[in-house]
């Protein structure tokens, strides 16, 4: 049966160097429930190491947790990868780690804390998660798809790390499943702007078909969780159902962005 499910598909944890240290699994789960979210996706920069802990912590809150990573391409474009299957998720993490040079400097970029479902600190990740991988945006999208995930261009309305800011326009032939608009704007407006952007662009820049747009919070602090979200008409909170909604398949759809 199809249901209206409210989701915030872009939430960081204390693993992201720019994420607040209070972004611990139980606190995130509790805030997500308070905000009336049915599901969240955990999408730290270039890592999925806190996904399982948040999922466990969220079970008792009745909030579903989709595994994700916010991948940084060599062009410094952020792509959200969402998976139902942890095997695909952690294989993507392995590919990222193999192509992510550098070591984190806590003083400069912030701590990268690993935590368990009881909010106990279990370790520190010392990779340069804030850095860029040596993978092109096209390779990242192809890799996500080959591993069974969804690829959504993150915060396309921001100049820094958004695909339009970095690359001028969405490259032709890039098989994105959708685009995400940051909290400060509404996706429906942005969706039409993106279509307008394509329609009015000189020459043959960019793809000819518009991309479905979602909004999410890109939360780095507890209070930001659910500040922006998307309501999907789907059977359950999974990446595969979200994929159907993005493609308007089998009655699934995006109902509202706020």
């Amino acid at each position: 049966m199809l249901k209206n499910l409210k989701m915030d598909l872009h939430v960081h944890t204390c693993l992201s160097p720019c994420g607040d240290l209070a972004m611990l699994p139980r606190r995130i789960a509790s805030r997500a429930r308070q905000q009336g979210l049915d599901a969240i996706a955990i999408s730290d920069h270039n890592s999925a190491e806190n996904v399982v802990a948040v999922r466990k912590a969220a079970e008792q809150e009745g909030v579903a947790v989709i595994g994700g990573i916010e991948v940084t391409s060599e062009e410094e474009v952020h792509i959200l990868a969402l998976f139902d299957d942890d095997e695909g998720l952690f294989e993507l993490q392995r590919v990222i780690y193999d192509n992510l040079p550098g070591v984190n400097d806590e003083q400069a970029f912030g701590e990268q804390v690993l935590a368990d479902e009881h909010d106990e600190v279990t370790g520190i990740n010392d990779r340069l998660l804030i850095g860029a991988t040596e993978l092109s945006v096209d390779t990242i999208v192809d890799t996500i798809h080959s591993l069974g995930g969804l690829a959504i261009a993150a915060h396309i309305d921001r100049e820094r790390f958004g695909i339009i800011g970095q690359l001028g326009f969405i490259p032709e032939g890039l098989a994105l499943d959708g685009v995400e608009v940051a909290a400060e704007k509404r996706a429906q407006e942005e969706g039409s702007r993106v279509q307008g952007f394509k329609g009015s662009s000189p020459g043959t820049l960019g793809p000819s078909t518009p991309f479905p747009a979602i909004t999410s919070s890109d939360a780095h602090f507890i209070d930001d969780i659910g500040r922006s979200s998307t309501v999907f008409l789907v059977e359950e909170a999974t990446a595969s159902e979200i994929g159907k909604a993005l493609r308007n398949e089998d009655g699934r759809s995006i109902l509202a962005c706020s």
Binding site: V137, G165, Q166, L167, G168, F169, P171, T204, L205
Partner: protein, 115 residues
């Protein structure tokens, strides 16, 4: 100054041999943010960047830039270079950093755009 003189004087490697280097250079622009290049570069500019994504060719073509200098020893993929030749956009390579090549362009009398 003609682009081909710049290529010779700065010892740039031309990655698109079929493209035409006999064109005037109006000035220079350096940026890796393609939206910024679309907004602020001018026709005839030589563009210094480390971006190698295929979108650089469309941006250079749209803005009618004189050519693209790719820095830090980076090289676009063959399909990008093929597109550049098709659009007649010269792509030149250097092992130097953006700062250094921009300085040398200035020494040759190539200037940034004025408002």
């Amino acid at each position: 100054m003609k682009l081909k003189e710049i290529v010779e004087k700065l010892n740039l490697e031309v990655a698109t041999p079929a493209s035409d280097l006999d064109r005037d250079v109006s000035g220079g622009y350096a940026s890796d943010l393609l939206s910024d290049v679309m907004a602020n570069s001018r026709e005839g500019n030589v563009w210094v960047t480390m971006q190698i994504h295929q979108n650089i060719i469309a941006v250079a073509s749209l803005k009618e830039l004189a050519g693209i200098v790719v820095v830090n020893g980076r090289k676009p993929e063959q399909k990008v270079l093929a597109k550049a030749e098709q659009e007649n956009i010269p792509v030149m390579l250097t092992g130097l950093q953006a700062f250094e090549i921009a300085g040398r362009l200035c020494e040759l009398g190539i200037r940034g755009n004025t408002k």
